[in-house]
Symmetry: C2
Subunit: 313 residues, 2 copies
């Protein structure tokens, strides 16, 4: 069976909107996904910055179904499906594969700490075997500052050997370029697609055989990041990289997830966007003002956002 | 409404048996719970050592229902119900409260790290409000080596003030006696029940106003731990504590959860007990032999276990 071309370039871990009573808000999620697609940004729904780990399995499946029902292209989606419990990961992964998603972004099981590489291999192997779908493409998700449990080069080597079709790549959110470089040097040439978890490393990643980035900031600054993905070989790439870094710094200075929602709310003129599920909490009004002022100084805009977000669904 | 006397003394985070295909095994779980009750040991089902975080919400609910159907007394149960996602925690907690469980043991949401105390307060407050059941008794679960996210004294103070009936106590698995002492000194006199997470600290806990322990080793050594709970004021308590420590050390030397299952399998003469869900893996045969030999040297026994485990359910 011939596999379609793999998803590459820019994806956003799409922020998840909640209603005032903390229920998920499919309408606003659909609108935000539509806007991201107009900016040539793929949809890594249910990532860390989507508050996916604050959603139940049922909520994630219902939201994916709502996106599909709204005719959002699954070929542009890479839902997060990695949970602590094997049956949950299998259920979400099977659902995504059957929906025709371009791939799934899979956290390792993250509750038990100090687990062996053998245990992690067995876990991912069980997922692949139980899902049993030739369309499955797994992107391993390495984010040790949050998950603590990580993905090692020897684990990737074993998984690639056992499941060369299913293991498609990884997202490296270590924030450690030397770590990313190890994976690029070891596996990129064999078709293992490395995404960095922050656009700060985008140019370095593309210059060393990586394929793109899956970054929180893509929720608000997709066009400029996408442009670097496409034009990284052209003159001016380093200046573009510096401009991306400035926006990222302005947004993230008081905590990424609450700030992203505030920025979307501000530029969409839609204050209901700011709700977070506990344990996450709002940043202060003063902090919000500092973020927006910093972005204004950078002449930051989110073109077309307000129009799309105010469409009826 | 008059509340019944609170659960105290010894509880086991009951190990969860799996079939060869990794499905949960309700029959063996029921048998093990029955044996623990004969040893005067309460049932903290779905704890860390139960591999609860490797179970789906549906599996936990179905197992609790199976225990209730087998007429295991919910007044002797404290199921673990704390998940990353608020709706999951609410669902499991409501189910346990409605079943008449003595309490629930609640992890904080543990995916996002560095969350604020305010965010954790809001999280637990939402659980209490949404469950909305006067029978609810929450035991906050502090296990920073695993969950990373912990319970602070000021969080307990705020929660006790807001929900004096629902917030019943805590399990401290920090392994740091000074930490436990801070909670005992601050809250024990006001009726906040402190359990230690290891019987190593049992005597110290009881001497300082604590109410018992919820310990992995209770799965295999319940009678002796229970005896110290009841006779801690009598002469010989320090020698009993030393004997408990020796058994704990023998069991845990190569990793607690796989060893517990091996010890149950050995003394129940039931080799099917040893299966773990990935990412956890078996200890080696040599390690198993070392554990069993060490226990034999201590004249360790699990009286009555084999009879109960081989009863038809």
């Amino acid at each position: 069976m011939q596999q379609a071309a793999r998803i590459q370039g820019l994806l956003a871990p799409v922020v998840t909107p909640f209603k005032a009573d903390l229920r998920v808000d499919p309408g606003r999620l659909i609108s935000h996904c539509r806007w991201l697609l107009t900016q040539n940004c793929g949809l890594a729904v249910f990532g860390t910055n989507s508050e996916a780990n604050s959603l139940s399995v049922r909520e994630r499946m219902a939201l994916l179904d709502a996106l599909l029902a709204a005719e959002i292209d699954p070929g542009r989606m890479m839902p997060g499906t990695g949970c602590c419990a094997l049956p949950d990961t299998v259920r979400l992964t099977r659902h995504a594969a059957q929906a025709g998603c371009a791939g799934v972004l899979m956290l390792p099981p993250f509750y038990y700490k100090g687990v062996s590489e053998d245990g992690l291999f067995r876990y991912f192997a069980e997922v692949v075997e139980r899902v049993g779908d030739a369309r499955l493409r797994i992107y391993l998700y390495h984010i040790p500052p949050v998950a603590q449990v990580g993905i090692t080069p020897t684990l990737v080597e074993r998984l690639l050997k056992a499941y060369p079709s299913a293991i498609a790549g990884m997202k490296d959110s270590s924030g450690d370029w030397n770590h990313t470089k190890t994976f690029l040097d070891g596996f990129a040439q064999s078709g293992f697609d490395v995404f960095v978890g922050s656009e700060s490393f985008l140019l370095a990643n593309l210059r060393n055989g990586g394929v793109g980035c899956i970054s929180a900031t893509a929720n608000v600054n997709p066009a400029a990041i996408d442009q670097l993905c496409r034009e990284w070989k052209n003159p001016g790439a380093d200046a573009r990289q510096a401009a991306l870094n400035a926006v990222r710094h302005a947004v993230a200075q008081f905590g990424m997830i609450p700030a992203l929602k505030q920025v979307v709310a501000h530029y969409a003129r839609d204050p209901d966007w700011v709700t977070l599920r506990p344990p996450l909490v709002q940043i202060s009004n003063t902090q919000v003002k500092t973020v927006i002022d910093a972005l204004e100084k950078l002449s930051f805009r989110m073109p077309g956002l307000a129009c799309i977000l105010h469409q009826p669904n």
